[in-house]
């Protein structure tokens, strides 16, 4: 019997937390949410946990997201790291590269210069080999992800190359620019914290 999680009306990151908990118990669940962001976050959580994900959009505006664990293994994120003899810190360095943009300026001192440096930094990210797995934007960093941002073209290219871009929803909301997001996805502290914690290396310009 498939378990149904009703997460309608719940604020982020509740739907994701409920989904994660349910997946610890069940192999197959359906999560019901009532907004795009929650649906997207639940879908991502599912994919990360190694589920096949299938979304139905209902006429009443809700999303029914069916998650079922793929046979033959759980997600990389869920798998227990590793054989005996490895130290925690050496495991950690095997994780992905995550770039954390906590401001729309790079460094402290002069704001105009700091903004120029940040634009250059983001442009240069494209030349990294391999590219980072994820870029996280929070605080005034989210201003770089919205329409009219000077680095939008670069961020779109980075995204096309397969890098995931997470923009802090609280921050977009704080600056009143939630509806202007032009790349990446609206994320929450739950995702941001777990992505940062799972990183092998973090670059914080």
């Amino acid at each position: 019997m498939k378990k149904i999680i009703d997460a309608k009306g719940l604020a982020c990151p509740q739907p994701v937390i409920l989904t994660k908990k349910a997946l610890e118990q069940e192999d197959e669940i359906t999560v019901i949410v009532d907004n795009d962001t929650a649906a997207e976050n639940v879908r991502r959580m599912g994919t990360k946990s190694g589920c096949t994900v299938d979304t139905e959009k209902k006429e009443d505006g809700t999303f029914h997201i069916h998650l079922s664990k793929k046979q033959g293994g759980t997600a990389p994120a869920e798998t227990e790291q590793s054989p005996s003899g490895t130290f925690n810190d050496s495991c950690a360095s095997d994780g992905p590269l995550v770039v954390v943009i906590s401001s729309d300026r790079m460094g402290r001192g002069n704001d105009e210069l700091g903004h120029v440096l940040m634009r250059s930094f983001i442009h240069t990210l494209l030349t990294l080999e391999p590219l980072p797995e994820t870029l996280i934007f929070y605080n005034s960093g989210v201003k770089l992800t919205v329409k009219d941002s000077e680095v939008l073209d670069d961020l779109k290219k980075i995204e096309e190359a397969g890098v995931s871009i997470l923009a802090c929803g609280t921050c977009l909301n704080y600056f009143g620019i939630s509806s202007d997001l032009a790349c990446g996805i609206v994320s929450n502290m739950y995702d941001i914290t777990s992505t940062m914690a799972a990183a092998g290396r973090q670059v914080i310009p």
């Binding site: 105009e112 210069l113 120029v116 634009r119 250059s120 442009h123 000077e150």
Partner: protein, 75 residues
């Protein structure tokens, strides 16, 4: 780089000149992009303005006499 577009860059002797040029081009609505000076051009930690080949003369016109330019060269 996979871009097929042909680009040029304007190089400056000072970051301030680059910023002033950017302001001028923004006001005139000429599309351009502030990027770090590519390594093969200079190892300085500088910025330059990149633009597509077709905009060369409008950009030269817009900046001449207003900002000190070091060089315009193909990317």
């Amino acid at each position: 780089m996979t871009d097929k577009e042909v680009y040029y860059v304007v190089l400056f002797n000072s970051v301030h000149h680059a910023l002033r040029s950017e302001k001028i081009l923004k006001e005139m609505g000429i599309s351009h992009k502030l990027i770090p000076v590519p390594r093969h051009i200079s190892s300085d930690c500088g910025v330059c303005l990149r633009f597509t080949a077709d905009l060369r003369s409008p950009i030269e016109e817009a900046l001449t006499g207003k900002v000190e330019i070091r060089e315009i060269c193909p990317l």
